[in-house]
């Protein structure tokens, strides 16, 4: 249905709040030039109206609890409700970050214990839990690389190597840290081209940012050689944890030669994504890099049996976020880890990989979709709709939109960039066989439609609250707030 903007629901005089009265009615004089004189055009609604508005909006949104959500590289797994119950506990919500450590031993214990789990899971020696998200973690990691080389008297190491299949955040984070980004091509298997890598390294090499399994869902089986090349060249090996779900509980980045790792707790560790955040992107490093981590770390003093915030990090890169990270997200992740345990974590990656390969094999050979790269996948698979596009004009975007008509979320599309018309599907371990079968069925049906009645695919979606959304118009005529909308509306420049 159509839900008006909250501004359009406003009626003067209504209130949606109650506030306590001031302790004493002291008159406080705000300097005249600072007093608010401009009108505060906020909506006026009662609480029942606000609740109805957002309840309706929520019903116009698709989440993991709504159905399959196989967004490649995003690991949209089920978010256990026990995580929410613990993370919204008053003992989590109502503590201040600057409280005396003696009054927040529970919070510090949670952070410390989470770090121990993450260390063992990744094979790293020390973690910061501060980064708010994956990209924030990447930035932390490359800043550590930067600090390390500077500290070693190698300021010339200003080149960060990034495979052409990498997430966009990798080059962006490297650039933010001041690195020049060198792209490394993939070979026909979909993995890093070793020769190109050899040719790219030099005394300017700061490091290589890599995901493994990579964004095609393919395990970089030459990882030992890759690590050797980078380390020999004096660079560091950075692990982008976005795809950790493919090896969780079985294989450790640290064992593969990685020096730095970031994790996405909102992906691999089941914390909800909240429509785009909050996430959490802890960064782990090998022993020789721990002095570069952001402050504070969480440490444990055996003698007193006390946890404490440790600001004694000699070469720290500083802070990448205020305070200690997205604490409530950390609580969720630890809850998950304790429930899963060693056996559960391994089951996660095994079934995630089983599900991805099941889908791969079931869909493989369907007209219009090709399967670039090696067949054996880990947690995700990338098909290409290029044949379909050539033969019928139906693009990956159309396929994605048509899937929505079947009540299913689309895969990630047009990524990785090295696959044209990419459909990047990551089912995760928390979907059922029936859901996988239904997804394959839907993709097959769309293929059939593309070859018999392409229009129905090209004009999809048909069964959604809104029809295909015009994003070109959105960029051409930016309207990003009610204020901008009103202005254009008054000028008669918009008819929507």
């Amino acid at each position: 249905w159509d839900e008006p903007l909250i501004f359009e629901l406003s009626r003067p005089g209504r209130v949606g709040y109650t506030l306590p009265k001031p302790i004493e009615d002291i008159k406080v004089d705000i300097p005249e030039k600072l007093r608010r004189k401009s009108k505060l055009e906020l909506p006026e609604l009662s609480e029942p109206e606000i609740v109805k508005h957002y309840t309706r909006l929520s019903e116009m949104n698709y989440g993991v609890d709504s159905g399959i959500y196989p967004l490649g590289s995003c690991t949209m797994k089920y978010n256990p409700k026990i995580n929410e119950e613990i993370a919204t506990h008053p003992k989590v919500a109502y503590i201040h970050p600057y409280q005396d450590e003696r009054t927040v031993q529970g919070a510090l214990a949670i952070m410390w214990e989470l770090e121990q789990w993450l260390k063992e899971i990744t094979g790293m020696d020390r973690f910061t839990l501060q980064p708010a998200a994956g990209a924030n973690g990447e930035f932390t990691g490359v800043m550590i690389i930067r600090a390390y080389h500077l500290d070693n008297g190698e300021p010339q190491r200003n080149e960060m190597l990034v495979p052409d299949s990498a997430h966009g955040t990798n080059p962006a984070s490297a650039a933010m840290a001041g690195f020049k980004v060198i792209e490394i091509p993939s070979n026909e298997n979909g993995t890093i081209d070793l020769e190109a890598l050899e040719n790219a390294v030099s005394e300017r090499t700061a490091g290589l940012m890599l995901t493994n399994p990579n964004t095609l869902g393919i395990f970089e089986d030459e990882i030992v050689e890759i690590a050797k090349i980078i380390h020999k060249a004096g660079g560091l090996l950075y692990y982008d944890g976005a795809n950790l779900n493919g090896i969780l509980g079985k294989i450790r980045p640290g064992d593969m030669g990685f020096d730095i790792v970031h994790l996405n707790l909102h992906k691999t560790f089941s914390t909800p994504h909240g429509g785009g955040g909050p996430g959490a992107g802890p960064v782990g490093v090998k022993e020789f890099l721990k002095d570069y981590l952001p402050v504070p770390l969480v440490s444990y003093d055996e003698k007193s049996g006390r946890y404490y915030l440790d600001y004694n990090v000699p070469k720290s890169i500083g802070k990448v976020k205020e305070l200690y990270g997205n604490f409530a997200v950390l609580v969720r992740a630890l809850t998950y880890l304790k429930i899963m345990g060693r056996d559960g974590l391994r089951e996660v990656s095994e079934i995630a990989v089983l599900n991805a390969n099941y889908l791969t094999q079931k869909l493989k050979g369907t007209r219009g979709y090709s399967l670039p790269g090696k067949e054996l996948r880990k947690h995700e698979v990338v098909f290409s709709a290029e044949p379909m596009k050539k033969e019928t004009g139906v693009k990956a975007l159309d396929v994605a939109k048509r899937l929505l008509d079947f009540g299913m979320h689309a895969p990630t599309i047009y990524f990785p960039l090295i696959v044209h018309e990419a459909l990047m599907i990551e089912p995760t371990e928390t979907v059922s066989k029936e859901e996988l079968d239904a997804y394959v069925e839907a993709l097959k049906r769309i293929s059939e439609e593309a070859y018999t009645n392409p229009e129905i695919v090209k004009s999809a979606p048909h069964n959604t609250a809104v029809k295909r959304v015009d994003d070109v118009l959105a960029a051409k005529k930016p309207i990003v707030t009610w204020r901008m909308y009103k202005e254009l509306k008054e000028k008669g420049e918009v008819d929507y």
Binding site: I6, R36, Y94, K250, E347, S459, P478, T481
Partner: protein
């Protein structure tokens, strides 16, 4: 061991067989030998056991509900109406991803558009993104944006020395890669930005930054002048603001700000030991500014039938398209925190925003008045939430005594600004109760 989260655990063999594999191991045949190993972590547990374990750990925290607490300094105990929490926990919001598929994500897209719109009204700038990680990272991004606006030709960013230390640290880390020089301006004897010092340092600056209120909890009285000084020097003017003040204090956009940053999570989120948060980022409606903006932006458009619809827009600025040339590396942001803030702000409305600002001003004034009975208040002026107090005794002694009285005192300032002596920030908000302050003053009298 969490098998209840994994439906196909029961169907391994059946599924393997269907696709012609004989074992799970075969699916990992491409992994070099020796990499697969047993992990040294505990076995999985039942939900009940973990529930009890986490409850036990958490019981070691003492919350502000159990203990009057005067900590502020960038994190405040505000009350969040229950319906805010209730609504953002609806799974359609909670468990959704970044709204890549607009047609089935209109709810989250509209909620974020409304967030942007509400922030625009508060800060007085019409272009707002759908959140940064927090105020500090928003400040870092703002500084970088001023450099981009100068096409990298200016590499100096001027900030008050009395900028919040956490934010200052983030700013420095964020701007190191761009080789930006952070120049600090002194405060004067009233705890305000020293305009003369600013004028001396502003030359060639890409941007000038100031906070409302400042780290000492004071309203900077010369915001407009600072903006004018910045603009005269060709620098962009960046204002950081605690948005809970904006029902009573003029919108920074009206005071000359080119970019406004701040903390959105003061609305809608509990303190959560410091996170998650959400950074406000707003700027002018000018293509030059918009093109340089970091972060996700939700825009209004129409669908194939001409109906109003919402979509992520201006994505060509972003990392997944622009890669190394993006305006920022940010991908996941703090969407749900932003939606919570929006619901809270919408619930307050114009009257509630004003009332909130007034109650906090009055409670802060009351706290200040009472503190002045027992200690020195170094700076006059109008305080909002935080009040700087200077003691004769080492503050740690005072802190210990308060703790013993089940009161959590203020934030110790000396480690950051030793020149201020044994001082601490004590804070009040709309949640502060008279009996807490009475108990505080009594306890302080005992120890001072």
């Amino acid at each position: 061991m969490g098998k209840h989260y994994i439906p196909n655990s029961a169907h391994k063999e059946e599924m393997l067989k269907e696709i012609g594999f004989s074992s799970i191991e075969e699916l990992f045949a491409d992994v070099p030998e020796g990499f697969i190993r047993e992990f040294n972590v505990p076995e999985g547990k039942s939900e009940y056991e973990v529930f009890m374990e986490m409850n036990e750990i958490l019981s070691k925290n003492k919350t502000v509900l159990e203990m009057p607490t005067f900590l502020g300094a960038g994190t405040y105990f505000h009350y969040v109406p229950a319906h805010v929490k209730y609504l953002i926990e609806r799974s359609e919001f909670l468990t959704s991803y970044t709204p890549y598929q607009a047609e089935i994500s209109q709810g989250m897209l509209q909620a974020l558009f409304e967030y942007q719109s509400l922030i625009a009204e508060l800060v007085g700038l019409p272009v707002v993104n759908s959140s940064m990680y927090d105020w500090g990272s928003a400040l870092g991004e703002a500084a970088l944006m001023t450099v981009r606006l100068h096409r990298g030709k200016r590499l100096k960013f001027v900030v008050p020395k009395h900028t919040h230390p956490e934010r200052m640290q983030v700013l420095k880390t964020y701007t190191r890669g761009a080789n930006l020089e952070i120049v600090e301006v002194k405060w004067n004897d009233r705890g305000q930005v020293d305009l003369e010092d600013l004028k001396e340092k502003v030359n060639d600056a890409a941007g000038v930054y100031v906070e409302i209120p400042n780290f000492f909890g004071l309203l900077e009285e010369n915001i407009q002048e600072i903006g004018e000084i910045a603009h005269e020097a060709g620098a962009y003017f960046v204002v950081g603001v605690d948005p809970t003040i904006l029902g009573v204090v003029e919108a920074p956009g009206e005071l000359g700000a080119d970019i406004v940053v701040g903390e959105a999570s003061y609305f809608g989120s509990p303190m959560n030991f410091g996170g998650p948060r959400a950074g406000i980022f707003a700027t002018r409606n000018d293509p030059k500014f918009i093109r340089q903006m970091p972060g996700r932006i939700i825009g209004m458009t129409k669908d194939a039938e001409g109906k109003r619809a919402f979509v992520m827009t201006l994505q060509t600025r972003e990392q997944h398209i622009r890669r190394a040339k993006a305006t920022s590396n940010i991908c996941s942001n703090e969407a749900l925190v932003a939606v919570a803030a929006a619901i809270h702000i919408a619930s307050l409305g114009p009257k509630g925003m004003q009332e909130l600002g007034e109650v906090i001003l009055k409670n802060t004034a009351y706290l200040k008045k009472r503190l002045s009975e027992v200690a020195e208040i170094p700076f006059d002026g109008v305080n909002f939430k935080d009040v700087l107090v200077k003691f004769e005794k080492p503050y740690q002694e005072i802190h210990e005594h308060l703790l013993q009285k089940n009161i959590h005192g203020g934030y110790y300032v000396k480690p950051h600004f030793p020149e201020l002596g044994e001082s601490a920030l004590f804070a009040a908000t709309e949640t502060t109760r008279k009996e807490w302050i009475d108990a505080l003053i009594d306890a302080l009298r005992e120890v001072l």
